[in-house]
């Protein structure tokens, strides 16, 4: 038969075990060899609502996102803030391009390589986000030709979306993929040519390349 002090000791031990077995930070990422919980949540309340054919069991006081999952037929968006935890990396080999001094007999050109890596299941799209500065007349016939005042860009690579020489303009789709991809490299060549009647001067541009996942 256990005495009162032994029972008290046993209760204390159990309490200590329970206390120290709880995670010290409930909002931290947790992992083991077989799983990784990127973001978990603790909420402080919520209500159960009904409206005709639908019911909603809501939560309140949530302090972190909870992610989403699907099986092809159903999609669960845990909490009220869900995310696709993927990443996208953009690498530009050369952000400093010089087309040199032009004359009517040549086409000035310079290239840079844009490399995109992403684990987004929908792939990526690389586009011209914005263009500012001054430039020669945009190419309109698909080819920058010596002797004609034209300025444009062409692309080369498996994910290249440009055909021929095209005008450098905002929202121009440069490259894309519909699947996750590692090291998708596309070479973009900027070209300019002048005509004998072109106005002499310095021309310059800022071209911003914008990378994102697809919808």
């Amino acid at each position: 038969m256990l005495c009162f002090c032994k029972i008290k000791l046993l209760v204390l031990v159990i309490l200590a075990l329970v206390t120290f077995s709880l995670p010290t930070n409930l909002l931290a990422a947790m992992s083991s060899a077989d799983y990784y919980i990127y973001a978990d949540t603790v909420d402080t309340g919520g209500i159960f609502s009904t409206g005709g054919d639908y019911t909603l069991d809501s939560s309140a006081g949530e302090s972190s996102p909870a992610g989403f999952s699907n099986n092809g037929t159903y999609e669960m968006r845990g909490g009220y803030q869900a995310m696709d935890r993927g990443y996208i990396n953009i690498y530009i080999s050369d952000a400093s391009l010089s087309l040199g001094t032009l004359n009517a007999a040549i086409v000035g050109s310079a290239s840079t390589v844009a490399t995109i890596s992403t684990n987004a299941s929908t792939g990526y799209v690389l586009q011209v986000g914005s263009v500012s500065g001054t430039a020669l007349a945009s190419v309109a016939d698909g080819s920058v030709t010596a002797g004609s005042e034209e300025y444009g860009v062409s692309g080369a690579g498996a994910q290249n979306s440009i055909s021929g020489d095209v005008a450098v303009a905002a929202a121009l789709i440069l490259a894309s993929s519909t699947v996750a991809i590692d090291g998708s490299a596309t070479t973009f060549t900027f070209k300019a040519a002048m005509s004998p009647s072109s106005v002499a001067g310095d021309y310059s541009q800022i071209v911003t390349l914008s990378a994102s996942a697809n919808f």
């Binding site: 996102p65 968006r77 009220y80 803030q81 869900a82 995310m83 696709d84 935890r85 993927g86 990443y87 996208i88 990396n89 953009i90 690498y91 530009i92 080999s93 050369d94 952000a95 400093s96 391009l97 010089s98 087309l99 040199g100 001094t101 032009l102 004359n103 009517a104 007999a105 310079a110 987004a120 929908t122 799209v125 586009q127 986000g129 500012s132 430039a135 020669l136 300025y151 929202a171 789709i173 894309s176 300019a192 002048m194 004998p196 072109s198 002499a200 001067g201 310095d202 021309y203 310059s204 800022i206 071209v207 911003t208 390349l209 914008s210 990378a211 994102s212 996942a213 697809n214 919808f215």
Partner: protein
Amino acid sequence: MWRKILVGIILSLLFAVPALSFSISPVRFFITGDPAGIETVKINISNTEARDLVFRPVVYGVRQGNGGQPVFEKNIDVAESWVKPEMATLAVASGNKGVMRFEIKIPRGVPPGSHYLGLGVEPVNDAVGNIGVMTRALSLLTIQVSGVAYEVLQVEKFEHIAARVGEPNWLFDLTLTNKGNVEVNATGDAKVLDWRGNEITTQPIFSSARIISGASKMSDFNIDAAGRGFWPGLYQVQVKVGYGITKQNVISLIYVWYLPVWSLVVVGILFLIFIGSVVFLARRYQMKKIMARL
């Protein structure tokens, strides 16, 4: 003239900034919020460049391009004004990570539905006085304002593009528009039926295509009538698109005449044979009448 050519034109794209490399995560956010509610999202930045970089936050509206891809533009979604970056710039040392936070405040009285934004960062141009190729990485943000959501997908256009009725490869122009207030996933099939309505063949057009609210999806597809051994005649081509969580379907039907060249030749020959037979019989009848008179 030669002086002008010699002076030439200097067109340069940046002189100072070398390579640029960085990552952001996550690539997509979904937020469901109440009007007057406040949410905060964070974008993790990895500086994978060999030098320190300073990033500034960017917020864009998103529309869907003809190919279904996101296109980022300013002043196209009212929700752009709901987002406030918590800092103007963020310095991230080479090989290190940083976090850019954005506060999203949904105004009171906003009707339910989805809004689409691009939140991201771009390195601040550190080449003073120069210009060049800059980079920007964006995360797609869908803000769903709570309330009644409805899914409506309409066929705006479904046409047979044909130079002539005997074209062996049928080309179709299909445009769908999302008239609902939320995005939908859509899967489309094209079915060919004979003139009596019996199904001959079915082929997929697209699968799990995401169409955001207000966007149109243009989808051209073809049916190889000659390759499938279709007989000349009148056919029905039916497009059926299933969409949304509500599992709805939208159906459109058009008629296509298929008269390949060889069938026209056969018809022509038969017609000539018919005419020849009529002429022959008429002459024979005339001859018989003449012979009878004699």
